[in-house]
């Protein structure tokens, strides 16, 4: 993994999109390889071991979702779905299938680069294995070893579920976590509890951590998909 010039594999069948992605990424110091079909994408991913994959869903020889699941089976490479399918259900499915993020077309380059950075940072953290025991995001400070949460100088008292939810978000800061993923992280199963549980604990977390819970700066809602901690 060359963190100086990460290799991006773009699997996309539309030439204008490939052109746009290549020029944007190259001008920001990424190396870019392209694939047009599922078949080619699978082969390139094996051969090149890219640092990140940008994957379109509607490919000429199959569905990108299947490729995402397949890649996830043998690789931890971050996958960002780039698709014109904008429905929330599609996003949830892709994220639950192991994609790291989801960008609906059309999108701006700033957005694209930010998502790529978050995804890369996350893999770097996982690869580093030993994450810092203290995470600092703005005024929020979470000490994972002593299970202590503070906002500025004030210590915040959280219930066990609130704490578990916050940790799940902190560990994937910047990344969208679906309802199912969060429920699994906090309660250990995605079957029993409902999104309603999440909303309850998210509301109380916001009350404790946000200056104005109606204008959240930290704990953001992705409507119909899940939640994200602003990195």
């Amino acid at each position: 993994m060359s963190l100086a010039n990460p290799l991006v594999l773009v699997i996309e069948d539309e030439l204008p999109m490939r052109r746009y992605l290549r020029s944007t990424l190259q001008s920001h110091g990424y190396k870019v390889e392209e694939a047009i079909t599922v078949e080619e994408g699978r082969e390139q991913a094996r051969r090149l071991s890219p640092d990140i994959v940008l994957l379109d869903l509607g490919l000429p020889d199959g569905d990108g979702l299947d490729l995402a699941r397949e890649l996830r089976a043998w690789s931890q490479v971050p996958i960002i779905i780039v698709s014109a399918r904008g429905r929330e259900e599609d996003k949830v499915i892709a994220l639950d299938f192991g994609a790291d993020d989801y960008l609906s077309k059309p999108f701006g380059s700033a957005e694209l680069l930010a998502r790529i950075r978050v995804a890369l940072r996350h893999t770097a953290a996982v690869a580093g294995a030993v994450t810092d025991s203290v995470v600092q995001i703005g005024a929020l400070r979470v000490d994972l070893s002593s299970r202590e949460v503070s906002l500025g100088d004030a210590v915040v008292h959280l219930s066990p579920n609130e704490y578990a939810l916050l940790v799940a978000l902190v560990q994937h800061a910047g990344k969208v976590l679906t309802h199912r993923q969060l429920l699994k992280e906090v309660w250990g199963t995605a079957v029993g509890p409902q999104p309603h549980y999440l909303r309850v604990y998210m509301a109380s977390l916001r009350k404790k951590l946000e200056a104005d819970p109606a204008r959240p700066r930290l704990l953001l809602t992705e409507p119909g998909v899940g939640y994200r901690l602003k990195a």
């Binding site: 904008g86 929330e88 059309p106 219930s159 066990p160 579920n161 409902q194 999104p195 309603h196 549980y197 909303r199 309850v200 998210m202 509301a203 916001r206 819970p213 109606a214 204008r215 959240p216 700066r217 953001l220 809602t221 992705e222 409507p223 119909g224």
Partner: protein
């Protein structure tokens, strides 16, 4: 024209007339030849004959003819081509023959058919009803009274005058108590006259043979008076019945005139007929494909449903009292429309009324015709409404097409123009211009994106593809998520929030779209820096949310038009937008079962208020123990 006289069942004559009429492809009718002497049996036969006529598709004229002259006049006025009458074999048929002879001699321009038929065995002999005790007592009293009067006046009067008094009594009894009582009265009167006044008095012996003549005349007059009175009574009864029918029809007309859709008319007619006829009545509607509407036939057994279907297909009555499927339970009358059958009228007379008598059946046939007319009118009205809606949809589609093509082309034109400028090999513009051109492309592309998204959303909403999945969501989260998505637009705009801490049952994705569209609208249509107020209140039954701006509002009376597709207010031209945002809001809110309205605020500005129903309460969470 077929003549029926009731002296014997004329069914063969009627069938012959029907065959003739079918062959010649002309309409036909039956008319009754009055009887000189009234008889109940004859009356019933005539009813039976008339029922047959109606079943065979003929018309029944409710008038009575008495001689060849009447027949000629009627034939002339109805332009009758053929007269059919019957000759009863084994009877002398003197009257029929006399009429026939008269008709032949004074040849009218019509063919005469005489159908000879064998006398059938009378099916039942109905004995004249024996007068009741009350009638007999009345008869005796009347005779006693007449005798009393005669005793008082006998010294001043002739025998003939005394007889007159008795005749007066007989006539009185005949009009009040019927034929048999009148005959008894005649006999009693003769007896009383003989006993009290004919010498030798106070015996029944008769000295003078002439008095026997008097008795004969008395009895004869009594007999004739009795028959005449009976006939008058029968006619009065018939007139009363006809009046009853007319007023029943009148009431039905009133019921039908109330209008409404097919289902409403069906329900009203059923209730009305049930009350009017005092029997179970079903109005079965036909669907477009010529089958009976399943909703109506649910109440029928499978046999009855089959009969009803048969009636619908053949447009002929069937069931009890008809020739078709007479074994069925109930009478089924077709309700024929002008183009296709409207349905079937099913009647289920109670056990005691085994068949519906001819008079009633003809009335019911008229009922069926009236109902089918009303149903057809309602049906046509529905078709017309559908056609209008269809036309409106077409109109809307063409508006949409023209509006969309304009809205799509404008940004495309800008993008195309700007990019050709950028690509042209001319002298390169200075960097500031270059940037301005690029930002134009960006803006126009964003505009296109918004428009396409809105159109897709609206199309999904209108085609019913959107399923509202209500979940309990904190109001705060809904508003918060919307605000963070609109951060850029809200940078320099004060947004005042007044939200209760409450959970509401909504589809979070759709509802946030509503909030976003409403906020976006408020931002666009009020000046820069103008505050926007977002308020909500929640109680046990509903949830209300208002968004108010301090812009110019909308022209008076156009508040609700805001939610129409492509409505762009009076400042629409100067502000970018597709005119779809609020239409989407309305679609989503209506899909939630809520309402959305706009009002101009007295202090200026526009307020949009939406309400959503709240049912139930958010689920309780299991308590969480602190560890």
């Amino acid at each position: 024209m077929v003549l029926v006289d009731g002296r014997a069942s004329s069914s063969e004559v009627i069938r012959a007339a029907c065959r003739l009429a079918t062959l010649q492809n002309v309409s036909w009718f039956a008319v009754q030849l009055d009887s000189l002497l009234y008889s109940k049996v004859a009356d019933e036969r005539v009813s039976e004959d008339f029922r047959l006529v109606e079943q065979l598709g003929g018309e029944v004229l409710q008038i009575q003819l008495s001689n060849a002259k009447d027949i000629r006049e009627l034939a002339a006025s109805r332009r009758v081509a053929t007269l059919v009458l019957g000759r009863h074999l084994g009877h002398r048929n003197r009257r029929m023959m006399a009429i026939l002879k008269a008709l032949i001699q004074d040849a009218p321009a019509m063919a005469l058919h005489v159908v000879a038929f064998q006398a059938e065995q009378p099916r039942r002999v109905s004995l004249p009803e024996f007068p009741g005790l009350q009638s007999l007592a009345a008869a005796t009293l009347v005779v006693a009274l007449a005798t009393g009067v005669d005793l008082l006046i006998r010294s001043h009067m002739d025998l003939a005058d005394l007889v007159m008094v008795y005749l007066l009594g007989i006539t009185f009894v005949a009009t009040r108590f019927g034929r048999m009582t009148a005959l008894v009265t005649s006999l009693l009167s003769v007896g009383a006259l003989d006993f009290c006044f004919i010498p030798p008095r106070f015996t029944f012996a008769v000295q003078d043979v002439r008095h026997l003549g008097t008795f004969g005349v008395m009895l004869g007059v009594g007999w004739i008076v009795a028959h005449l009175a009976e006939r008058i009574r029968a006619q009065a009864r018939m007139a009363l019945e006809r009046e009853g029918h007319a007023s029943a029809l009148n009431r039905l007309g009133g019921v039908l005139a109330e209008g409404g859709d097919l289902e409403a008319i069906r329900a009203r007619v059923e209730t009305y007929l049930r009350r009017e006829l005092d029997m179970r009545v079903l109005v079965l509607l036909a669907d477009g494909k010529g089958d009976l509407n399943s909703s109506g036939s649910q109440n029928l057994g499978s046999d009855e449903a089959a009969v009803a279907q048969w009636v619908l297909e053949h447009a002929a009555p069937a069931g009890k009292g008809t020739t078709a499927l007479p074994g069925a339970r109930g009478l089924f009358l077709p309700m024929a429309g002008t183009e296709h059958p409207m349905g079937v009228l099913a009647l289920f007379p109670g056990g005691q009324k085994l068949a519906v008598e001819a008079e009633r059946q003809s009335l019911l046939t008229v009922f069926a015709a009236q109902i089918s007319l009303a149903l057809e009118r309602a049906h046509l009205a529905e078709e017309r409404t559908e056609a209008r809606i269809h036309a409106e949809e077409e109109q809307l589609r063409s508006t949409l097409l023209s509006s969309v093509s304009h809205d799509l082309r404008t940004p495309l034109a800008a993008i195309t123009g700007v990019t050709t400028n950028l690509l042209s090999p001319g002298p390169s513009a200075d960097p500031a211009d270059h940037r301005m051109l690029l930002s134009t492309i960006h803006q126009e592309a964003c505009r296109l994106q918004r428009l396409v998204n809105n159109m897709l959303d609206l199309t999904k909403l209108e085609s019913g593809q959107v399923k509202v999945q209500k979940e309990w969501v904190p109001l705060e989260e809904l508003v918060g998520s919307t605000i963070s998505r609109m951060e850029e637009q809200l940078v320099d705009r004060p947004l005042q929030l007044d939200l209760p801490e409450a959970w509401v049952p909504v589809d979070p994705v759709l509802f946030e779209q509503v909030l976003q569209n409403l906020l976006d609208n408020a931002l666009k249509y009020s000046g820069p820096g103008c505050p926007i107020l977002l308020q909500a209140c929640v109680d046990a039954e509903q949830f209300a949310l208002t968004i108010a701006d301090q812009g110019p509002g909308v022209p008076e009376g156009e508040e609700q038009r805001l939610f129409e597709k492509f409505y762009r207010g009076n400042r629409g031209a100067s502000i970018q937008g597709s005119g779809l945002g609020l239409a989407i809001c309305r679609g989503i809110i209506q899909a939630h079962g809520g309402t959305i309205q706009a009002h101009n605020l007295p202090a200026g500005g526009l307020q949009i208020r939406l309400t959503l129903p709240i049912e139930g309460a958010p689920p309780e969470l299991p308590p969480e123990g602190y560890s």
